[in-house]
Amino acid sequence: MIDELAEKEKKERKPVEKEPKNEPRSDSRKIEVAHHEPDASVKKVKMKAEGVCAWFGTKQALFDVNIDINEKAVTAIIGPSGCGKSTLIRCFNRMHETVPGSRFAGDIFLEENSIFDPRMDPVAVRRRVGMVFQKPTPFPTLSIYDNVAVGLRLNGTRDKKTLDEVVEKSLRKAALWEEVKDSLQKAGAALSGGQQQRLCIARSLAVELEVLLMDEPCSALDPISTSKVEELIHELRQNYTIIIVTHNMQQAARVSQKTAFMLNGKLIEYDSTEKVFTNPANKLTEDYITGRFG
């Protein structure tokens, strides 16, 4: 259903955007892109990747990726399966290095500091740069309350009152509080898939989170849960920096301010979402979002 609508949408939009595209593609167009970005200079850069390359064993998954992530904005990463989207965002919280045999080159900055600085503890980085996975992963033996509190608790917070407050605040921010406030002691695994995913978001928000990485957070969810999570992303953008990987182009268009298109481990195009979806600079991007491949 939704796909059909999306198709229709695309078809309706196409004639309008086709016109300028018939012009010859040249570098002058790229300059124009910069003009079209009203708030690019206003936004502060929260995270910055410089020359990021990543390997799994001998297989190179990322090739010289450079990208600036704006603060308090949603950045979407799109691209066909296997193009390195997950690998890229897993570099942002140093999860890539947990894979045996993996390698990394380049640098990533969180504000002014490199997250690969020897003085930076990967554990500390991950507290500031959280992650939500494709499949909801609540800790199965912990209650809803403990699922949210566990990050703080295992980092030394014991005070019951502080924990209570943080749990409520996080669950409220994740738009889950009303649904679970009477059953906080129930197992986290007993929730529905969509609720579990919001629980995972709440769990990330409970630590001193600044950046939230989301790897296809809705691909295991039904449409209603999906729209709830999308609404939530809109809310969270007020206070957090969000990077979301998605296969759903409509979703990228709905939730993000900037969109990055990746192909075969390279960053092909990175621009305001509006620009990428209505008037992409690169032929490959256009082919992908019009559904010609991928």
């Binding site: 919280n93 554990v123 500390a124 500031r128 992963t137 800790f139 295992l154 630590v207």
Partner: protein, 283 residues
């Protein structure tokens, strides 16, 4: 064509019949054993048996209270020795022992150790503890049983901790939880019912051991005064009574066997219960 189909149907039926018969035959010893022990043991099973000390030959009454207590003591001592080592070794193997020479050796040793005849474990405990201390003791018996628990617990813990999905570990790291905290508080906690299953099964396994106790815990007709004393146990007491020429003692041996059987059976059943729970959580 038709012939071939009839042929197939008949081989099919024959195979089902043969397998069914085999299954039935396999059940016979088990059921008859249970029934026989139940019938024989039931005669003397009463409150006196469970609460009083053994009496000399010819004096009526008497029971195996001290042996029941002894078995419990031995299992507790064995658990203190075997469980911490076994559980932590299992965690180590599962979390750090992927391609590691040392881990390979530990695993190999555990496998060899679990195949060692229990009487050999008894001799080792005798040499290590009974000889230097110059007397049989519950401690020596418990340690011998503890040695036997180590490999079982190590391997079951390893398997069950490995069953915890990698995504759970990643989710924990992504929250900024350190590696050792992730293992102890998240992974092991997720696997705890499974680990408990392994623990119960290894307890059930050692509770029925006789050989390693013969020359470590030995036997005792009275309440033990401490773990440095020789201690009665259900298995050794059953053994002693069963080979005696006295009818009353032989009856008591049956009852002792029944009590032991019920004990082990109930441990096994609770292990099954926990395992079922652990699987539903790990799915």
């Amino acid at each position: 064509m038709v012939n071939y189909q009839t042929y197939r149907r008949w081989t099919d039926r024959t195979m089902v019949f043969l397998c069914g018969t085999a299954a039935f035959l396999a059940g016979i010893p088990l059921v008859s054993l249970l029934l026989y022990v139940l019938v024989q043991g039931f005669r003397r099973l009463d409150w006196t048996f469970l609460t009083s000390l053994p009496t000399p030959v010819g004096v009526s009454g008497g029971g195996m209270a001290n042996a029941i207590l002894g078995t419990i003591t031995l299992v507790l001592i064995a658990s203190c020795v075997g469980l911490p080592i076994g559980i932590f070794a299992g965690i180590y193997l599962s979390e750090y022992g992927k391609k590691n020479r040392f881990a390979w050796m530990v695993r190999f040793t555990a496998d060899v150790l679990s195949g060692v005849p229990s009487i050999v474990t008894g001799i080792v405990a005798y040499t290590l503890i009974v000889k230097p201390m110059h007397n049989f003791s519950a401690l020596a018996g418990g340690v011998a049983l503890g040695f036997m628990m180590i490999p079982i617990t190590t391997r079951t813990t390893e398997e069950l901790v490995k069953m915890v999905p990698h995504s759970i570990r990643e989710a924990s790291w992504a929250l900024g939880i350190s590696q050792w905290r992730t293992i102890l508080s998240i992974v092991v906690r997720t696997a705890k019912n499974g680990i408990l299953t392994g623990v119960l099964l290894s307890i059930a396994r050692i509770a029925g051991e006789t050989a390693p106790l013969l020359f470590t815990a030995f036997n005792n007709q009275f309440w033990p005064k401490g773990i440095n004393e020789p201690t009665a146990s259900l298995t050794v007491q059953v053994f002693t009574y069963a080979i005696s020429p006295f009818k009353d003692w032989q009856d008591q041996a049956w009852t002792g066997a029944l009590v032991l059987l019920l004990l082990v059976l109930s441990i096994n059943l609770s292990a099954k219960f926990f395992f079922k729970n652990s699987r539903s959580l790990l799915r």
